[in-house]
């Protein structure tokens, strides 16, 4: 196992390096002169030249990348063009806002998805199964930002939980104080994932239920309940675990849209605002932080997957 973990860690390194190269390239792929972008339109030639000097843009590209990587490893991602503050400070508290949002959304997705998937599998080819799968197909086909808008509308018209709409007032410090204030963003982000997990759980359960050892268990007279929950579910959940990790990561990315709709002050909104104002160091910073987090979460999921599924050859 230790060997596997070490090998997996080593495999992660080139991926992370690749991520930094791509993120580094962002700034250089922008049409036009990066120094000019930093300086803003109408800046004097001298200012642009100074900035170019200060950012090391006169250096060869590999040297620039090495500097970027070295700084990033020390937690220095440069400074925002607009505010002049270090990118890391700008990300700071917003990091946890987004992680929290994605975390709760994952819980909602897993909870709803598992229940729906299990019910569907246990009662397969009944009305319940068909309805759940139709709802899941809709959940999969729905843009989540549109669903968020609908939720806002429904809650406003029905006057349900007025606190749930309070996020619409801009809150500089980020994020809700009670669960009621975060319920809509979490639902918005989590439902699409719930649909995916429901479909996955159903097919995984059905596959397991068809296997010999389940028939053996039944033949031995094990109760249907025990067969379903002890024997089938436990094994059916193994492939679902990997999806959960991917979902969490997807939610980190999807937070961009959800945070925009609900005016949540997280990394997603920071990214969008930065794209609009062409504040590329911030874009680089948030994209890098989110991707690195995603890679690490997947690493954890992979390792726990091996723990769960002992049949997989560890070497």
């Amino acid at each position: 196992m230790t060997k596997y973990i070490i090998r997996r860690l080593l495999q992660t390194i080139p991926v992370l390096l690749g991520v930094t190269i791509l993120v580094f390239s962002l700034m250089h792929l922008v049409p036009g002169d990066p120094a000019q972008i930093v300086a803003g339109e109408g800046a004097s030639e001298q200012t642009v030249e100074n900035i170019r000097e200060r950012l090391g843009l006169n250096e060869p590209i590999p040297v620039q990348y090495a500097t970027f990587l070295g700084n990033a490893l020390q937690g220095d991602l440069g400074s925002s063009i607009r505010s002049g503050r270090p990118v890391m400070d700008e990300i700071g508290a917003r990091f946890w806002v987004t992680v929290e949002l994605a975390f709760y959304a994952t819980i909602v997705a897993v909870f709803l998805g598992l229940i729906a998937g299990i019910v569907s599998a246990v009662r397969h080819y009944t009305l319940a199964d068909t309805s759940i799968m139709i709802v899941a197909l809709f959940g999969l086909s729905m843009p989540n930002f549109w669903f968020g808008l609908l939720l806002i509308q429904w809650f406003a018209i029905g006057n349900w939980m007025p606190e749930s709409l309070e996020f619409l007032k801009m809150r500089p410090s980020g994020w809700g104080d009670t669960w009621r204030q975060i319920v809509l963003p979490v639902l918005t982000l989590g439902t699409g994932g719930a649909a995916i997990i429901a479909r996955m759980t159903r097919s995984s359960m059905l596959e397991v239920i068809g296997q010999d050892y389940i028939r053996t268990a039944r033949a031995k007279g094990v109760s249907e309940r025990l067969v379903t929950y002890r024997h089938a579910l436990k094994n059916a959940l193994i492939p679902v675990v990997t999806v959960v990790g991917l979902e969490f990561g997807g939610f980190l990315g999807g937070a961009v849209l959800t945070e925009t709709i609900f005016a949540i002050n997280g990394m997603g909104r920071l990214t969008i605002d930065a794209i609009r104002t062409r504040d590329f160091p911030i874009v680089q910073g948030t994209v890098l932080v989110i991707s690195v987090l995603f890679v690490l979460v997947n690493l954890l999921v992979d390792i726990s997957y091996r723990f769960l599924n002992k049949r997989i050859d560890l070497n």
């Binding site: 080139p14 991926v15 992370l16 690749g18 991520v19 190269i21 791509l22 993120v23 962002l26 792929l29 922008v30 049409p31 397969h124 197909l137 809709f138 999969l140 086909s141 729905m142 843009p143 930002f145 549109w146 808008l149 609908l150 806002i152 509308q153 406003a156 159903r202 097919s203 059905l206 596959e207 068809g210 991917l246 990561g249 997807g250 939610f251 980190l252 990315g253 999807g254 961009v256 849209l257 925009t260 709709i261 990214t271 969008i272 794209i275 609009r276 590329f280 874009v283 994209v287 989110i290 991707s291 995603f294 890679v295």
Partner: protein, 302 residues
């Protein structure tokens, strides 16, 4: 038994194996209700996208960008089936004109991603070794940007426009194709007939295009139809963030964004473009599910 019978040529009907498997493909697809439903829906949507604008401009006075501030934010009525937006533009007309844009994003981006992904996947799976490692690590890097983030970063660099959204979503789709195609290539490559053609002196190029590619078309088709659904959702998301087709283009995601400001007084502005996205994505998802069940019975859930 006379000598004649022994020497007479085998008169069995000549069958073209490729044509047969093609026929079988359509037979199996035709039996799958989901695939047929999704397919019919897609055809209807395509007809609507290309015939709809022509019908509207020929037979009515509605134009997608024609403003009428007196009648702004009107709810659905006989005159305006889907109501009007904040400029008094007819939402039904705009939705119909926007269908084409949504399909462009879906088809072209998946085409770009598919072609690049298939090439990467086949080369990776066929040659293996170092080139395989390099390509697959590159795909891992692309997959390290979760969800919409990769497309978002690309559009951030290129600037917001419909073409750039197509490019961004295309690149975003590459790894999905590359992985599936690599896996299928690996399993086909090991089959005996590939060794046989190689022994006959076929070049790598010929083996790949004549003998491997036709045999891995099923997973590619499945991937493409499901991927179009994802691509449309991603493209709509980018447009919603203001990074897609620029106003006044009747792009559905952009229309949703415009409607966002009027959520409370005129909910219909955001309702209809959203419903249309659901409809189109649903059609491709149903079709993709059906095609997968029809082409790959092993993956069917029972």
């Amino acid at each position: 038994m006379s000598e004649e019978t022994v020497n007479s040529p085998v008169t069995a009907k000549k069958i073209n194996p490729r044509l047969e498997s093609y026929k079988q493909f359509w037979r199996r697809l035709g039996k799958n209700k989901a695939a047929v439903t999704g397919g019919v829906l897609i055809v209807l949507i395509i007809i609507m996208a290309f015939l709809g604008p022509w019908i509207i401009t020929t037979f009515t006075d509605f134009r997608p960008n024609q403003t009428d501030l007196v009648n702004k934010l009107q709810g659905p009525s006989a005159a305006h089936w889907f109501g009007t937006d904040s400029y008094g533009r007819d939402i039904f007309t705009r939705v119909i004109f926007g269908t084409k844009l949504t399909l462009y994003v879906g088809f072209f981006s998946v085409f770009i991603g598919g072609v690049i992904g298939v090439v990467f996947g086949i080369v990776s799976g066929y040659y293996g070794g170092r080139i395989d490692t390099i390509i697959m690590r590159l795909m891992d890097v692309l997959l390290a940007f979760p969800g919409i983030l990769l497309a978002l970063a690309i559009v951030a660099v290129l600037g917001g426009s419909l073409t750039n959204v197509i490019i961004a979503v295309g690149i975003f789709s590459v790894p999905a194709f590359a992985r599936v195609v690599r896996g299928s290539t690996l399993s086909v490559r090991k089959l005996e007939y590939i060794d046989a053609v190689r022994a006959l002196g076929a070049s790598d190029f010929r083996i790949i295009f004549k003998h491997i590619l036709p045999n891995i078309m099923s997973p590619i088709i499945v991937q493409a139809s499901l991927r179009i659904a994802t691509a449309i959702l991603t493209g709509a998301g980018l447009a919603f963030l203001g990074l897609g087709a620029q106003p006044p283009a009747p792009e559905w995601g952009a229309m949703l964004n415009e409607g966002r400001q009027y959520m409370f007084e005129a909910g219909h502005v955001a309702l209809f473009p959203g419903l249309m996205i659901v409809l189109v994505v649903l059609a491709f998802n149903i079709f993709g599910d059906g095609v997968r069940d029809a082409l790959d019975p092993k993956m069917k859930n029972n």
